[in-house]
Amino acid sequence: MDVGAIIFLLKTSLMAMVPIVLTSVGAAWSERAGVVSIGYEGVILASAFFGAIFAEISGHASIGLLGGLFVGALFGMLHGFLTVYLKGDHVIPGIGINLLAAGLVPFGIIAYWGTAGQHTLPFTLWHIQIGHNEFSPMIFVTIAIAIVTWWLLFKTPLGLRVRACGENPEAADALGINVEKYRFWSTVYGHALAGLAGAYMSVDWLGLVHKTMSGGRGFIALANMVFSNWNPLVSLIGGWLFGFFDALATWLAPKHIVPEQFIYMLPYIMTLVIVAGIIGKARPPKADGKPYKRE
């Protein structure tokens, strides 16, 4: 293994880390407030599609990122409305969102660009030059978001109130916290970050929209959230680890040491192994996924 390969692995692993960490951080915040969602996979995919459209219309990749954030927030409002205000099941809407995105994106690619299955963007996000290497600013933005979210969640009164909604909503309510409001906006924040992750994949990292581009990342992010014990800071480590295996698979696949299918399995197997090994110690928030009804 030469220096070039090491730099390739490092760079690719950081790029691959971004969507996992963003989604994990968002999901952790939402679940800390007590709302579970498994729809992040669909949100990533749909935002990748809409983010690309926003970018192409405006001519700026950064507008695409904001567009993704916005679309993610809309999905969060839908999920929050169903789960927080209507007290519905927390898992079923996610199944619907995933299926909706899996249909809407290939449909939209044909209807909007007239190509089947895949569309390549004419431009991508501007990158920072460090020596001979380029780095996406989104890598630094993601690290910053993880740190700030951690700080807000664990070091400020706002975070304390959010966590109270997820641990003991009755007590939070008794203290005058509007549980429904906190839960709703936490859900919106969680899905908005997943939307940013999706838009990043299309307008920055891959520079294309493909009908299966989310590739299970929404679920891997949930696994990473559990691995990191619902802590945004720790999810940086887990996210980078996944990014590394993703990069390793991309690097190994063309070498034909073993059939490529076995290499592509790697990130998923690692996720399974890590989650299986760690989970006994992880503890979800007490009222996670439980609708709260005032007596």
Binding site: G96, L99, L100, G103, L104, I220, Q261, M265
Partner: protein
């Protein structure tokens, strides 16, 4: 409740859960309505598209046979999700158990060209692939949504390797070797519909009997309703969960095996697994619209089968077939609205 000699209409309606039935119908209607808006937004004619869709699924005996043919695999994967739901778990692993059922049909019927052997091995492989998620859930407390999704991806890459390498057809490398003639499911009459549909309906009825008329089924539903209460009642929720995964794996595995053994005229898996992917996820929608009830699922599977049968004629009008998935997604989100029936009734009363 008053008991008269003959059961009243209200009583019968209560037994088939009238409210749930109406809610499913409303959800379907809303799905089509929003689907129409999306079609309009992208410049397609929704009336033309839907007419073609329904004609494709119902217009002739042949089309109805196609509808039932397409409903068979999703009926069986829906049962996987349903039995999971009844046990209180979200088993989304039907997708990969289905792959293993399909590859089992190819692999084992070419060892011994017996129909029942192929079906049996499909069920065995489907159940085996569901087992890791069950054990991780019971012994390590890992959420089944994460494990089953990871297993789906691992299973996908493994089976696509099996398709292009060990079981590739040397004379037609874009397909696998075929199921031998002696192990193919016979068709009914002169249609593409095979006896697989009848088998699937029988399996659904058996699952109904299992869930509501056996001790094991009672234990499953009890632990799905309230684990702690079930444990006090002498039920072992861990065993119930493991059985739920195994039985779910069996039905999906059977679905995969029957898909390939009734795949007229090729009787093989095509390149990239195109004819075995997506059935597990479709099954989730079928199950939710059928209210996770085996008998409701039979109806809902036939409905979704009609959509599948109709897509190709809808596609001929120039509408991308993926709109059907969009409609399915909206239907599921609508089904997730709790008390939809009461909600609408209330708002109608307010409007009147």
């Amino acid at each position: 409740m008053k008991s008269s000699g003959k059961p009243g209409v209200g009583e019968i309606l209560e037994k088939i859960n009238f409210k749930a039935f109406v809610e499913s119908i409303i959800a379907v209607a809303i799905g089509f309505l929003i689907g129409a808006i999306i079609l309009l937004a992208f410049g397609y004619d929704p009336i033309k598209a839907y007419t073609a869709l329904f004609e494709g699924g119902l217009a002739s005996t042949e089309n109805i046979a196609a509808t039932l043919h397409y409903s068979t695999p999703i009926l069986l994967t829906a049962l996987t999700f349903a039995i999971g739901s009844r046990t209180g778990i979200f088993n989304i692993g039907a997708e990969s158990s289905f792959y293993f059922g399909a590859i089992a049909a190819i692999a084992f019927t070419n060892i011994w060209g017996n129909l029942w052997f192929g079906l049996l091995m499909g069920m065995v492989l489907g159940a085996l692939w569901a087992l890791p998620a069950a054990l991780l859930k019971v012994y390590r407390g890992v959420h089944e949504v994460i494990t089953t999704i990871m297993l789906n991806w691992i299973g996908w890459y493994f089976v696509t390797w099996l398709i292009v390498d060990p079981y590739a057809n040397p004379s037609n490398p874009i397909k696998t070797i075929r199921v031998p003639e002696s192990a193919r499911l016979p068709t009914i009459g002169d249609t593409i519909l095979s006896w697989g549909f009848i088998i699937a309906v029988v399996v659904a009825i058996l699952m109904y009997v299992l869930l509501w008329h056996t001790t094991l089924g009672f234990g499953m539903r009890a632990s799905g309703y309230n684990q702690r209460a079930a444990r006090y009642g002498g039920i072992n929720p861990k065993a119930a969960i493991v059985w739920s995964f195994i039985i779910g794996g069996i039905t999906s595995g059977l679905g995969g095996a029957m898909k390939i053994m009734s795949e007229f005229p090729g009787y093989a898996i095509s390149q990239g697994g195109a004819n075995i992917s997506g059935f597990g996820f479709d099954g989730i929608g079928v199950s939710l619209v059928g209210r996770n009830h085996p008998l409701g699922i039979i109806l809902s599977a036939i409905f979704f089968g009609m959509l599948k049968a109709g897509t190709s004629s809808m596609q001929q009008t120039g509408v991308p077939l993926e709109i059907v998935k969009v409609i399915q997604g909206i239907i599921i989100i609508t089904v997730a609205v709790p008390g939809l029936y009461d909600l609408l009734k209330k708002s109608f009363r307010r409007a009147a």
